[in-house]
């Protein structure tokens, strides 16, 4: 199922050498002693990077059905959280949980999106897809509908269309005609049917296809284009910025004309002409192992196994929890340019007490002054620091 890593010792050796050279160039950032940074930005940034603090964490003790939170979506005055034990809704300071007894296809809720057009909530679960409309659940499964597979890793709404990334391909559902289309390796440039993520923007759909990079689908022309790692290397990114960093992609997110792509081996940014790769060793990224990303305007939030990072491509803010207590820090890294055009790297750390609930992050959503994070050990809510 998964692409087998190719063993190419000579190429790998070259890659390791190149990697070492790069690493040397990146070292030397110094921690800052400043206690209260208003925001993080490089000299040439127009907008500062937002920093979130005043974290509040929610667990089963607060009413969540499970601490294993897979996804989070802000929907006006309420927040929808997908957990291992059902869908939980935070509204007016209280949590209310919905499970299979209420009509949920499966209690493992891994993706949520809200249709701007209708207000309907679409829910991807480990056992099918739900539409939750005015309190009523409608279930789509691979047995009763054209849904490609019941493992729905990601669902998004794009106008009247709903897209689902599943273990059996990407599914497109037209809510007007109620017709399904399936995209797999049979009819799209995919390596295999397994898809992990999907996002939409500017008339295009971006599918994160396992082992197949990113599949771009233009809705008007119904044409595909695929973006794969040009160097084909499975263990390292052999040639920097030559394209997507790895073919095993986990999520895509599109905003402000920028496509962000996450993998378990780093992250990529595509502006329509050029690719840029980001790794934990050459950026503020908390880890190369990225579960999910969500772009909001110029900023992308990155959910990794070692904390939550955010960036606009230049400045970075990473949130980490301490291993031994509930506190943590926001680590701010700026990559600005000095007057002589050399790169000026600065690092600051802001103590957070408490910090985010856990460093294994799977879901995130931001809206105005609030950031919600789904972690392995609960859900966290942060407020924008002025």
């Amino acid at each position: 199922m998964r692409k087998i890593f190719r063993k190419n010792i000579p190429r790998t050796a070259v890659a390791v050498i190149l990697c070492g050279i790069c690493s040397v160039a990146v070292i030397n950032s110094q921690p800052s002693a400043e206690k209260s940074p208003a925001n993080a930005h490089s000299k040439d940034d127009a907008k500062p990077m937002p920093v979130y603090g005043h974290w509040k964490n929610f667990t089963t003790k607060d009413g969540l059905p499970s601490d294993h939170a897979y996804c989070v979506r802000i929907d006006g005055n309420r927040v929808l959280v997908g957990t291992h034990e059902g869908l939980s809704v935070y509204e007016d300071g209280k949590w209310k949980t919905y499970t299979t007894k209420d009509g949920l296809a499966h209690n493992g809720v891994v993706s949520i999106d809200v249709s701007e057009l209708t207000g309907d909530v679409w829910i991807g679960t480990f056992g099918g897809l739900n539409r939750w409309s005015a309190g009523k659940f409608e279930t789509f499964t691979q047995l009763n509908s054209g849904l490609p597979n019941d493992l729905v890793y990601c669902v998004i709404c794009d106008g009247k269309d709903v897209w689902a990334a599943t273990a059996g391909g990407a599914g497109h559902y037209d809510t007007y005609t109620k017709a399904w289309e399936i995209f797999t390796e049979k009819n799209a440039p995919m390596h295999e049917p397994w898809t992990y993520g999907v996002s939409a923007g500017d008339g295009k759909i971006f599918i994160a296809a396992w082992g197949g990079g990113v599949i771009e689908y233009t809705t008007k022309t119904k044409k595909f284009k695929d973006y794969t790692d040009p160097d084909g290397e499975m263990e390292i990114d052999l040639l920097p910025d030559d394209g997507i960093v790895h073919d095993i992609t986990t999520a895509t997110s599109y905003a402000d004309g920028i496509l962000w792509v996450s993998t378990y081996f780093g992250m990529s940014r595509y502006d329509g002409s050029h690719w840029k790769g980001y790794f934990d060793h050459d950026s503020g990224l908390a880890s190369n192992f990225i579960n999910f990303i969500r772009a909001k305007g110029p900023v992308v939030f990155i959910c990794s196994d070692k904390g939550l990072s955010s960036t606009d491509g230049k400045s970075w803010v990473t949130y980490k929890k301490n291993d031994n207590n509930n506190d943590g820090m926001a680590i701010i890294k700026n990559f600005g340019r000095n007057d002589d055009n050399t790169i000026n790297k600065t690092t600051k750390e802001i103590p957070l007490s408490p910090s985010i609930a856990h460093n294994f992050i799977i879901g995130v959503d931001a809206d105005k002054d609030v950031l919600w994070v789904a972690t392995e050990k609960g859900v966290s809510r942060g407020e924008l620091m002025k």
Partner: protein, 677 residues
């Protein structure tokens, strides 16, 4: 000599007559018996050779084109009545005072509803078989625009500011929001199953949509039908209220103060054996009263009486003073007059337990039904004059509008819409089809379980002779004349037999139709029930790529592994065009433990997308489930070698199948290919 000559001639002709008569009559008896599948039908050549002709000269000679008024709107001044003439594809402009049709405006196919703009300048007509709305300038009586909608536009409502038109799409089960400035569809919301009625609350804040078919659910579960609530301000669905044990919620009306919304409904008892008919209660009819306040109650009240049912409630209107509601009962040619204050009083004084019991209380109607007014055949849409003094009733199968004085509650006049004077045999059959007079205590008519001459989406417990369950998924009657035998067990070889003695014994529990009526209802069923066009999945006969791939699977003779598929396990073998049935009995391993041992009649597949649930007992909620859940042994076609993509393609193709009239070319090609092979 002369006398003997005459006698000889007479004798010759007498002998000849006898020689011809006895064998001839015997032959005729055999012929009629074979054509009717019964042994007692009169030897009347006209029964088959005249009245059941679907096309050609004879058909044109004996049949007529009627108007069939369906819904109406009245101008604010009360000087014009706008009548949807469904069969004539027209909006009639009527002067109610002079009782004269002034103009006929041709609109789209099978118009359903009409609504007038607040300024009275425009009329909007939904065309159920064109998937659009005709916009009519009433000053010129011309169609000035045609707006695209979803599939099967029916009920209409205007937003409070008259800038948006809400169109209920009855076939695609959603509601379109049309921007009247641009003519574009802005949004489309899913509703309950097969919605038709819609009404904006008097404060202009809330739009209700009623649905006819129940939500698909396994047999044995309580029936639920949805009323969908849309918030005008946010343009979002804010409520989906399940109305339990009820369906066919055709229309809705608000009291002028907005404290109550009242919906027409039927309460079917499809879970009890149909033998229940002779005990009453097979179907009950009434209204759903929805209080419009926070935590408002939902109460079901029957309009029936002990031993007398008022079948097929269709429309409801409420007088401007909020005192009376009028409900048309299409199956018994009656208008019920409901005293709304009495309803309020009953609700206020009743405990929750009592309120719950009213939904099954046949006697309770005496507390609020104050009059029954008889009408012509098949009353459908109702409209009140703006002062509330006159009630107009569209008598669909009378081609007439009845005018009722809402104070005296008497019919004061009728308006003839100019349809044919002659009632043809098929038209008489349609009247019978829609009339409950032939069922014990008027409990139901053919239309009740076959609304729009289709099917109601329910599974009934048709108890067999040994009282097994024999669950039966109601089948569509559209264009079934050429697809004998009938019933899932194929026991009835002809419509004559289907609607004859057995029908009265099992279902209506009264005297069987006399032969004249049997001829009439057979003529109607065979000649008069067309399919709607398949505008959603196959609007022009050009199949999509997916449908073409699905067709290849449908026609295939080899599976994905390269193995021959036995001929009797290929889709095309049992489901050849144009009806997509080979008219034979089949075994597809779907017999349930409660079924009598039997084969099943291979069903036709035209417009099959519109007939969920599927299989003889409705166990498959969707077409997919026929194979994903109930086709695991490859007895209903070879399917388990297929990928999900292929199954989706096959389903896409099945949904594209249209009326036989469209499929005859396909049929010719199919049979030519078979012959050449």
């Amino acid at each position: 000599m002369k006398t003997s000559g005459i006698l000889s001639v007479l004798l010759f002709f007498s002998v000849l007559g006898l020689i011809v008569y006895f064998p001839g009559r015997k032959w005729a008896r055999v012929h009629v018996n074979s054509k009717t599948a019964v042994g007692d039908h009169p030897l009347n050549c006209l029964s088959c050779h005249l009245y059941t002709q679907k096309s050609g000269f004879i058909s044109k000679l004996v049949n007529r084109k009627y108007m069939s008024p369906f819904n109406m709107a009245v101008s604010k001044e009360g000087d014009r009545l706008y009548v949807v003439a469904q069969e004539d594809n027209a909006l009639l402009v009527v002067d109610p005072e002079k009782k004269k049709v002034l103009k006929k405006i041709i609109v789209g196919n099978l118009p359903h509803s009409v609504i007038l703009s607040n300024d009275g300048q425009r009329a909007y007509v939904s065309n159920e078989w064109s998937d659009d709305v005709s916009v009519i300038d009433l000053s010129t009586s011309k169609v000035v625009d045609t707006l695209k909608t979803g599939n099967g536009p029916a009920g209409l409502s205007l937003s409070a500011d008259n800038k948006s038109l809400y169109v209920v799409n009855s076939y695609s089960s959603n509601i379109s929001v049309l921007d009247l400035n641009t003519g574009e569809e802005r949004k489309r919301f899913d509703t309950g199953n097969n919605p038709t009625g819609t009404q904006l609350s008097p404060d202009g804040k809330t739009l209700y949509v009623t649905s006819r078919r129940a939500l698909i659910a396994p047999y044995g579960e309580t029936l639920k039908s949805e009323i969908t609530v849309l918030d005008e301000n946010s343009q979002k669905i804010t409520g989906r209220r399940n109305i339990e044990s009820a369906y066919m919620m055709e229309n809705i009306a608000f009291t002028p103060t907005g404290d109550l919304a009242i919906v027409t409904m039927i309460r079917p008892k499809n879970l009890v054996p149909s033998i229940q008919v002779e005990l009453g209660w097979m179907m009950t009819y009434g209204i759903v009263v929805i209080e419009q306040k926070e935590n408002g109650r939902v109460i079901q009240l029957l309009l029936d009486e002990p031993n007398a049912y008022y079948s097929d409630p269709f429309d409801i209107v409420i007088t401007p003073d909020g005192k009376k509601a009028f409900v048309s009962h299409s199956g018994v040619n009656t208008i019920s007059v409901v005293n709304i204050d009495s309803v309020r009083s009953l609700i206020d004084k009743s405990s929750p337990e009592l309120l719950n019991s009213y939904s099954d209380n046949l006697g309770i109607s005496s507390r609020y039904v104050i009059k029954r007014i008889k009408t012509g055949a098949n009353p459908k849409g109702l409209a009140l004059s703006s002062d509330g003094k006159l009630l107009y009733v569209a008598e669909q199968l009378e081609d007439r509008i009845a005018v009722i004085n809402t104070k005296s509650l008497e019919t004061v006049s009728t308006i003839d819409l100019g349809g044919p004077n002659k009632i043809t045999v098929a038209r008489q059959g349609r009247r019978l089809f829609n009339n409950s007079g032939h069922t014990f205590q008027n409990q139901f008519d053919c239309y009740t379980c076959h609304p729009d001459m289709h099917e109601d989406g329910l599974v009934y417990n048709m108890a067999s002779t040994d009282m097994g369950r024999n669950l039966t998924n109601t089948q569509s009657l559209r264009d079934i004349g050429d697809t004998p035998p009938y019933k899932w067990n194929g026991k009835n070889q002809t419509v004559y037999k289907q609607d004859g003695m057995r029908f009265s014994t099992v279902l209506t529990r009264t005297e069987q139709f006399n032969y004249k009526d049997l001829d009439a209802i057979t003529a109607y069923i065979i000649t008069g029930i067309p399919y709607p066009p398949n505008l959603q999945y196959n609007p022009n006969g050009e199949l999509t790529e997916s449908q073409l791939r699905g067709k290849a699977i449908f026609d295939r003779t080899m599976d994905n592994l390269g193995n021959d598929i036995p001929e009797n396990n290929r889709c095309i073998t049992c489901h050849p065009p144009p009806y997509y049935t080979n008219l034979k009995m089949a075994y597809v391993k779907t017999l349930a433990s409660s079924d009598d041992s039997m084969l099943f009649d291979t069903p036709h597949l035209n417009n099959i997308y519109a007939s969920p649930p599927y299989l003889h007992d409705g166990r498959a909620a969707t077409l997919e489930e026929i194979w994903t859940k109930y086709g695991k042994e490859d007895k209903h076609g070879r399917v388990n070698d297929m990928t999900k993509n292929q199954l989706n393609d096959l389903i896409d193709y099945l949904k594209s199948l249209r009326a036989p009239a469209y499929e005859h070319n396909v049929s010719k090609k199919f049979h030519a290919k078979n012959q050449s092979n």
